[in-house]
């Protein structure tokens, strides 16, 4: 479902461009809106959410999908935690569909998916690990890295149980906007993947904007 936001960039309290291969991690307060913009199109924003008060209670794709009885995320999707609490809700979306089945790339999964000699290529889970080590005030480690959302990715499921990696529905300037339902830690890796045609082998920047409640 498509819905544009009424918020304008000039009223945002925070704006930051995340370059491909970089991460962003920060606290977003209850009631704040945060937007992820796909600046050049078909980029993947690998995203994890944690309850700031209880980080062991974190985004759970299985609970989120089961509650909405649908495998795609879009406007109205309530992003649930393992304990069934709402972390955030998608309130605007100019793409229409986002993936949360495909997980994040890692150097280890790259060896399986592409070639053993890809083992040293940069990957989202390396960015996640670095983010947590460099921001140890959050008390998170590799142990807390669970299954993520891939904003702007399109991964349809066939009736026969196949999984496809289809051309993205995103494009330059398209965005998704979430409203935090509690104080949350947001961790985003701007995917550095160079082996996948979904981004035309060309990872590009994302922008984060945050508005106060």
């Amino acid at each position: 479902m498509l819905r544009e936001s009424t918020r304008t960039p000039d009223s945002a309290r925070f704006r930051k461009v995340i370059l491909a291969g970089d991460y962003w991690v920060d606290l977003v307060r209850k009631g704040e809106h945060f937007r992820i913009v796909d600046l050049e199109g078909n980029q993947a924003a690998d995203t994890l959410l944690f309850s700031a008060a209880d980080p062991a209670d974190r985004y759970s794709f299985v609970d989120t999908l089961r509650a909405q009885r649908n495998v795609f995320l879009s406007v109205g999707s309530r992003l649930l935690s393992t304990a069934g609490n709402m972390l955030a809700e998608i309130v605007a979306d100019t793409v229409g569909r986002h993936d949360t089945l495909g997980g994040a790339c890692s150097t280890e999964s790259n060896t399986v998916r592409y070639s053993l000699d890809k083992r040293t290529m940069h990957a989202c889970r390396d960015s996640f690990v670095l983010a947590l080590v460099e921001h140890d005030q959050f008390g998170l480690t590799k142990r807390d890295l669970t299954h993520n959302i891939n904003f702007f990715m399109n991964v349809p499921v066939t009736a026969e149980g196949g999984l496809e990696f289809a051309d993205g529905l995103s494009g330059p300037g398209k965005y998704v906007e979430l409203c935090a339902a509690m104080d949350i830690i947001v961790l985003i890796s701007n995917c550095p993947q160079l082996n996948n045609p979904c981004n035309a082998y060309n990872p590009t920047p994302l922008e984060i904007l945050i508005w106060g409640p």
Binding site: A56, T82, G102, G103, S106, S109, T111
Partner: protein
Amino acid sequence: MSSEAIFHEALIEGGKHWSLTVRSGVVLRLVDVKGGANVGMLFYNPCNLLERYNAPDTLKCQHTFKLTQGHCLYSDMGRIFCSIIADSVGWHDTVGGDSTKALVAQRWGEKSYQSHRNGWTQNGHDSFLVEGGKYGLSRRDLAANVNWFSKVSVDEGGAMTFDSSNSAAGAYVDLRFEMDTLVLLHTCPHPMDPAAEYPRAPVSIQLSKAARATNDDLCRNSHPENMRGFVNTELYRQCTCDGV
């Protein structure tokens, strides 16, 4: 299929939990004794509990949403915990997640241990916390689990549907372990099961020894990705405490 006799068999009643460490080279057969079973399962590396089953990695590298014969179950480190070497069902779920205390209470009503003894209504989430806790695991270590014998299909619009008729009495699936693996399991209901009464389907677990996967092995060759997964796993097995 298993090449040797069963060395251990355990019957797990419906709505219960268990855990065990399984050596590489062991085949674990799950049998849906009466039909309609669900077995929630999670996998960890006993030498490094931070290495755990990763459903998205498993699905995307084999371009599948369901699990069945020929598929391998991957850790987050690019290694294979186990391979599905035989399956009489055809579709097992790893996206439906787990039942919780709140879900069981809302769907079927909570039956306490005080009032119902062994007939209490346990849930999958708490079952994993109990079994995982025995090895030092906690909420932070949980991951998306497998639901053996359960089917959740998806239509073009993304809608998810649970199939109550997926597994019949006598159905089985054989898991050949490719590395030493800590297995947490429960027989609590699938969270999307629409049954009117709390489902209690018993499952038989049969352990036997298998020959190591050969070069023409079905699971190794079902996807080029799995050939590389086997190389990663073999490297690990030859270099670590897991060596056999």
